[in-house]
């Protein structure tokens, strides 16, 4: 609980962050920056979880644990994704999302 700060402020903050991430996801071409956008989205979700935990259900820690697991999954996702990017770069010397279309049709 923070004085004068209601839960909706947290939720709005995370919503804005979420859509900033979405915007990044939509416009960016470089795969790494797209991944950064995705991570921003994940962080916004984490904020939501924690805020709900703190404000609405402080008696147990579900929100915190979900956030923990999200962080862990983000780590795995980032590591595998970056391994793929590096391999991709070795193959086609480029990591723009539009150039990765070998499998198209």
């Amino acid at each position: 609980m923070i004085e004068n700060i209601g839960i909706e402020k947290f939720v709005i903050l995370s919503t804005l962050m979420f859509f900033i991430g979405v915007y990044g996801f939509l416009v960016r071409k470089n795969l790494i920056t797209i991944l950064i956008s995705v991570e921003i989205i994940l962080n916004s979700v984490n904020i939501n979880f924690v805020a709900f935990n703190k404000y609405l259900y402080p008696e147990n820690l579900q929100g915190q644990f979900f956030a923990l697991f999200i962080i862990a999954i983000a780590a795995t996702e980032a590591s595998v994704a970056i391994a793929i990017f590096v391999t991709l770069y070795r193959r086609i010397k480029m990591i723009d999302v539009e150039n990765v279309n070998k499998m198209k049709y």
């Binding site: 209601g6 999954i73 590591s79 391999t87």
Partner: protein, 167 residues
């Protein structure tokens, strides 16, 4: 006092998020993202989820960001700039994002959240440890183990993918 700190963090988060998704220098984007992460960790500290904040610092700031920077170092040069994005694309994306944000925020504003409970959250290390390793109600032993398995799998997977072909 805490109110002010919250606003500072919120503003930092928003500004650097925007910078992170718009910067044309890719490493700068990563650094802005680092600031976003630090501010989020600060929010967690503010809400007295100390453990979660420290995890955020270790895993994100200490781990994922370093991975990003490494991959950026491997895939681009210092004075590379990303190509400017077509105006049409920007407009459409912006429209989509703003529309989404407006819809969500209007929904949030009209929704009446139930009254916040003023109970102190017991997020101490002992409680967390107990929850993580118990398997009854509120026990997280199974997800914990599954996550550890997932981490191992991704470790091996990342090595296998990034390994140089021998052929």
């Amino acid at each position: 006092m805490e109110t002010t700190i919250f606003y500072i963090f919120a503003i930092v988060i928003l500004i650097f998020s925007v910078l992170a998704v718009t910067s044309r220098r890719i490493l700068r984007a990563a650094v802005y993202f680092l600031f976003v992460l630090l501010a989020v960790a600060g929010l967690f500290f503010l809400l007295s989820f100390n453990f979660l904040a420290a995890v955020q610092l270790t895993v994100y700031a200490g781990g994922i960001i370093v991975l990003f920077i490494f991959s950026i170092m491997l895939t681009s040069q210092v004075n590379d700039k990303l190509e400017p994005i077509a105006a049409k694309k920007i407009i459409f994306s912006l429209l989509a994002a703003i529309a989404g944000a407006v819809v969500c925020i209007s929904a949030i504003m009209t929704y009446r959240f139930s009254e916040p409970k003023n109970i102190e959250v017991d997020a101490g290390m002992k409680t967390i440890g107990k929850y993580l390793l118990s398997y009854g109600e509120n026990g997280y032993a199974l997800p914990f183990e599954v996550i550890s398995l997932l981490l191992l799998a991704s470790l091996i997977g990342a090595i296998m993918i990034a390994k140089r072909d021998n052929t």
